[in-house]
């Protein structure tokens, strides 16, 4: 046992060390990508100008005429001393690290329900569906799962938006103004005083400064994006749980357990589910990192100013430093996510040993 944990630590250290050259390669690759971009950020920044001198001065200021290796060198050096550059167009004069500090908590707020609660619901649904194979319950659950898997998330989001905004419009004349849901407008100002301590999470902030109106406003803003996100992430896990559960239920040890008189509840929850969860857990843990980035289309649909929204904005306007910064940040999340998944996998399935 002790030896195993030692091996584990060695393995984790090896993986973390391996992440460093990977990160440098990712940096160079993203820099190359942003270098080859077809969008002209300078035109987007200063607008179409007839004065070539203004244009020229701007190009000189951002170092356009430097050779490529000097640009890359400066970028890499600045990156490792913690200066990821400043935003050029999307949020002018804010450093990229600052931007990530502002926008990433919003995405986490949006994704916390789909990441934490949805796997629990989805596994329950999958088990229920496998237990009642080929009955009406099974059909309903599979239908929900397949709608989530087959229909594009932005379509579901758009329809939800239209539905709440137009078809049941009378609702919004009540006490809660549901119309606030779409605009994500700063209708209620943040309770954080200028220069005061802020966690970036609006829900936590409203608790810290004891502002109920802001809390409800935030929650209502989150309602529709979370619903459409839930629908999609539910689908994959439910389908996988169902199929692996069906496979496990055919095994000999399930028959043995039933034959020796174990309660059906225990057969499902203890004998079958433990084994059926192995592939599912891989999907859940490994999918968490990508789910954090996968909210892109929902954020674009609802104009939710989170990670994906600014990513798309930066790509469209050619804000190259923001693209680089966000992409590298996303890569770090994915790399650490896969590492966590591999480590967690040994805890869930003790048969796996890393050397």
């Amino acid at each position: 046992m002790k030896r195993k944990s030692q091996n584990m630590i060695k393995y984790v250290i090896k993986r973390v060390l391996f992440m460093v050259p990977m990160l440098i390669m990712v940096l160079i690759f993203t820099w190359l990508l942003s270098h080859m971009m077809s969008v002209n950020p300078v035109v987007n920044k200063i607008g179409f100008t007839l004065d070539p001198a203004v244009y020229e001065r701007e190009l000189r200021r951002i170092g356009y005429y430097d050779p490529w290796y000097i640009q890359l060198g400066i970028y890499l050096r600045n990156f490792f001393i913690g200066n990821w550059g400043e935003s050029y167009i999307v949020l002018p004069d804010k450093s990229v690290i600052e931007i990530i500090g502002i926008i990433f908590p919003r995405t986490i707020e949006l994704m916390i329900f789909p990441i934490v609660i949805v796997p629990i619901i989805a596994v329950k649904l999958g088990v229920l569906s496998a237990k009642n194979k080929n009955t009406s319950k099974d059909v309903v659950i599979r239908l929900i799962a397949i709608i989530g898997a087959g229909f594009p998330v932005f379509w579901i989001a758009t329809l939800l938006q239209r539905f709440v905004g137009i078809i049941i419009r009378n609702f919004t004349y009540g006490a809660i103004n549901i119309e606030v849901v779409f605009s994500n407008s700063p209708s209620i100002p943040s309770p954080v005083p200028p220069g005061g301590f802020s966690t970036g999470f609006r829900i936590i902030d409203s608790f810290l400064y004891n502002d109920q109106a802001y809390l409800w406003d935030t929650l209502i803003h989150l309602l529709l994006p979370v619903i459409s996100m839930t629908f999609v992430s539910l689908a994959g896990i439910t389908r996988l749980t169902r199929s692996s559960m069906l496979e496990v239920m055919d095994q000999d040890y399930i028959r043995t357990a039933r034959a020796k008189g174990v309660l059906e509840k225990d057969v499902i929850n203890k004998h079958a589910l433990r084994n059926a969860l192995l592939p599912t857990s891989n999907l859940i843990i490994g999918g968490t990192a990508s789910a954090l980035l996968g909210s892109l289309f929902v954020e674009v649909t609802f104009n939710y100013r989170g990670f994906g929204y600014y990513m798309v904005q930066a790509i469209f306007t050619g804000d190259y430093l923001v693209i680089n910064g966000l992409l590298v940040f996303a890569t770090i999340i994915i790399l650490s996510g896969t590492l966590t998944a591999d480590v967690m996998y040994t805890i869930i399935d003790p048969r796996i040993v890393y050397r």
Binding site: A149, G150, W155, L327, I334
Partner: protein
Amino acid sequence: MTEIVNEIEQDEKTEGKKGNFIRLLKFYLLPGWRDPKFTAMQTQIERVKSKRRLFRRLLAPLSIVGLAMVLFMAVLAVYAPWLTPYTIDTLAQPYLPSGGIPFANPTPAHPLGTTRFAYDLLGRLIWGARTALTFAAMPVIISLTGGIIFGTISAYFGGLVDTILMRFVDFMYSFPTIILVIIITPMLGGSLLNMVLIWGLLFIPVNMRFVRSLVFQVKQNMYVMAAVTGGADKLKVMFKHIFPNTLSPMIISIFGAMAVTVLGFASIAFLGLGDQTYADWGTDILYARTRMTAIGQAFWPGLFIGITAIGFILLGDGLRDALDPRLKI
């Protein structure tokens, strides 16, 4: 024994190929149907029995639904010029209809109303099937071919080649693929051919890992070792002994990948990066987003995307249940 075989051959000659085909069709489709001659053909029946079982399992109700969905889309794609009076030139970007009302309600001339720039929505939906189906298959074929070549090489040779290729795969895996697509698409220009190439090339690593794991499984079988011991050529072992046995999981994965491609193309078009000179369902949803009251214009294209994707998913599931029920894709 030889007499029976001679008799069968004689029958086939007299009845001709057509009669044989109908008999086989009856045999596959009608449950429990037996040809009067089958008592004499016992050996032959045994030979085709496994095929018959496979066929029966393929005909599960959900697979039939999936097949119907895909066939519906295929009919729309093939007979598009006959199904709608509008030609593709009058439905896509460079052409702007004069005097039309954008986002109009349904009229006899426009059965589902009009979308942005007063294009006919139904016409765009029908021509969109052609775009979607044509370009759903191509990235999958490109990425799977690349995956097969590099994955097989990597798994079979092992050692340094394997390490280098797998490091490359790890490198590509560390990027969020969808964001990479969004960055690269405007870089090369969003024409459909470019999109196909980008999707095909970016998804090669996924298929490399998939094919490699399949080959590793097959490699441990006894017949591969026997072939190696017998002194077979490396390429021959790879592509004659190992490759055919990895085929069925690959065929199953094609359908899932096609559903992903249809959805992916729609999402890229939804962000406004698609080729707007084609009728495309994702672009339709993007158009509908410019007006809040355009509910039908947002609803129909998404429904068509969903029908196509779900059709492919159901077909893939049905094939998996029939061919390889233990496979997890």
